[in-house]
């Protein structure tokens, strides 16, 4: 990928809402170049989606997040992909990864209540044939999300002028 695309991606990852004009000013390039590059990145699927990072506590979201580690029996030919595909289909599943280490897949899940998540684990997940183990870890507090410290003090304390 060329340098300009990389820099644009970096800026969008930091602030998906920043305007083309803003990007052009910072990178010292034409706005039309920014527009073109971004549509290319969108069309080719490099940019998947624009989203927002939410501080759930401040937003008053009473949702429950959990991380579930899953052990599975790999299938012939399809390996882990078949089971991954099955899990991906559930809206509650937010992220899904194939992992190295003691288990095989890790997913993050968002539910309205603890009960909703436990039902998903006990009724849905464990009902899948190739799933041999699950370990559910509930998230108790968000400290850092998407590279941002949620409760850090950003007050400017600089005083000295030189």
């Amino acid at each position: 990928m060329d340098k300009i695309s990389k820099k644009i991606l970096q800026l969008l990852k930091d602030n998906a809402r920043c305007s083309n004009e803003y990007i052009a000013e910072l990178l010292n390039i034409n706005e039309s170049v920014v527009e073109e590059t971004i549509s290319e990145l969108e069309d080719s699927g490099v940019i998947v989606k624009y989203t927002a990072i939410i501080n759930n506590e401040l937003a008053g979201n009473d949702c429950v997040d959990a991380l579930i580690e899953i052990g599975v029996t790999p299938q012939k030919i399809s390996g882990f992909d078949a089971i991954a595909e099955e899990l991906m289909g559930y809206d509650m599943v937010k992220n899904l990864y194939l992992m190295s280490g003691g288990h095989d897949l890790t997913l993050t899940i968002e539910g309205k209540t603890v009960r909703e998540i436990s039902l998903f684990v006990s009724k849905t997940l464990s009902a899948i044939d190739s799933v041999i183990s699950t370990k559910t870890l509930f998230i108790l507090k968000q400290y850092k999300e998407g590279g941002v410290q949620l409760f850090s003090n950003t007050e400017d304390k600089r005083e000295l002028i030189r």
């Binding site: 803003y22 000013e25 910072l26 010292n28 000295l160 002028i161 030189r162």
Partner: protein, 398 residues
């Protein structure tokens, strides 16, 4: 009643307090004011560096260090100078760790000056050189630099200021407040004069990591200059470590030993905790090729583009700065000097910038804007400046 004036030394009363402070105290009391005045990074010191300082305290490493600074730190500094700037100094007797680069400037001048010795200072430049020269009994001679020369100091201007009493030239590049840098060819021309006229150079390279599109060159690297150069640098700007007060001096041993003598009596040693932090900053850099420095550099560079572009759009003459984190636009085309502009801008739009006159008479027509601020603050402030300039222009047209 005691008359304190009877007690205060002539030298001390002879130096003026910095005019900038008063200006920003006003801004500090204004609600909703934005300051673009601060001359220090807005980034936090990298976490690993802070962590290492905390760990040094926990381990109880809280005694004095060697007067010259911890051996490990001096070795790291020597390696840094040689790998980054190709200048070689012995960590045994040619490097002294100081309380910020500021102490380095003071020490150098104290080690060199007798009463009446003249010190050449390219102007506009950082506010503390001239007072330090005066405190040492020296005479500071301003060498005016022009925007048409991109604020580089030229041999002609220098030559016009050299007298038999000239002993020292201060080279403040990359420059605060103009953002000017000196490339190799310019340094060579200046070096030739220094050798011809037997002048010692104090090279304040505190912004050495912050040059854009071009690499920083130390004047000590120019042929024949190592023996007559005192290199001053530090951690404040490159590693966002202003509050740690950690700098260093590198120069030939006969000069360093004199500075060490003064440092031993007045300072003892740089803060131990800061030395551990500085060591971590360098060691991280050797491993990851100064990733943290590079990340900040990239961010400053983007802001620089934004600032220059905006100022040019407003029709303010602003040469493209290649160093530090300041832009230095000329405002006299709006019918006012830098001080009038800054005062009016603060009053009308609550944005504080520094009048160029604070950095010497040659800065009268200019203002210094620092871009050591988040891009969000910069955009907000520049929008206000834009409104202000457009209103001024409208009034002028009437």
């Amino acid at each position: 009643m005691i008359d304190y004036n009877e007690f205060i030394s002539e030298k001390a009363s002879g130096i003026k307090p910095s005019g900038i402070r008063k200006f920003f105290d006003v801004a500090a009391t204004m609600k909703g004011a934005i300051s673009l005045g601060v001359g220090e990074p807005d980034f936090q010191t990298p976490w690993s560096v802070r962590e290492s300082a905390i760990s040094s305290i926990k381990k109880g490493y809280t005694q004095y260090t060697s007067n010259t600074g911890m051996p490990a730190l001096r070795i790291a500094i020597a390696k840094y100078l040689s790998t980054r700037y190709n200048i070689k100094y012995s960590s045994d007797n040619e490097i002294l760790v100081t309380v910020g680069a500021s102490e380095g400037i003071d020490l150098s001048l104290r080690a060199l000056l007798n009463d009446g010795d003249e010190v050449l200072i390219p102007e506009p430049s950082y506010v503390s050189y001239s007072p330090c020269v005066k405190l040492c009994g020296g005479v500071s001679v301003a060498v005016p630099c022009k925007v048409s020369d991109e604020f580089k100091v030229t041999p002609n201007e220098l030559l016009a200021c050299i007298t038999p009493k000239t002993k020292v030239l201060i080279m403040p590049y990359p420059n605060n407040p103009t953002g000017a840098i000196m490339e190799r060819s310019h340094l060579e021309a200046v070096s030739k004069l220094c050798i011809e006229h037997n002048i010692i150079v104090i090279s304040d390279e505190i912004y050495s990591e912050l040059t854009y599109d071009v690499q920083h060159v130390s004047i000590a690297e120019v042929e024949g200059m190592r023996e007559r150069t005192i290199v001053i640098n530090g951690f404040s700007k490159s590693f966002a470590m202003t509050g740690w007060r950690l700098g260093y001096v590198a120069c030939p041993e006969p000069l360093l030993s004199v500075m060490l003598k003064i440092h031993q009596y007045c300072i003892m040693c740089a803060p131990t905790v800061s030395q551990y932090a500085g060591l971590q900053a360098l060691e991280d850099g050797f491993i990851d090729d100064f990733k943290a420095v590079e990340a900040m550099h990239e961010e400053y560079d983007m802001r620089r583009h934004f600032m220059v572009r905006t100022l040019n759009r407003l029709g303010l003459e602003c040469f493209e700065p290649k160093g530090a984190f300041y832009v230095f636009p000329k405002v006299s085309s709006l019918g006012m000097n830098g001080e009038e502009f800054a005062t009016a801008l603060l009053k009308a739009k609550k944005v504080a910038v520094v009048p160029g006159s604070a950095f010497g008479d040659s800065g009268n027509d200019f203002i210094r804007i620092s871009y050591a601020y988040s891009i969000v603050s910069l955009r907000k402030a520049m929008k206000r400046i834009e409104e202000f300039v457009l209103e001024l222009k409208e009034n002028m047209a009437k």
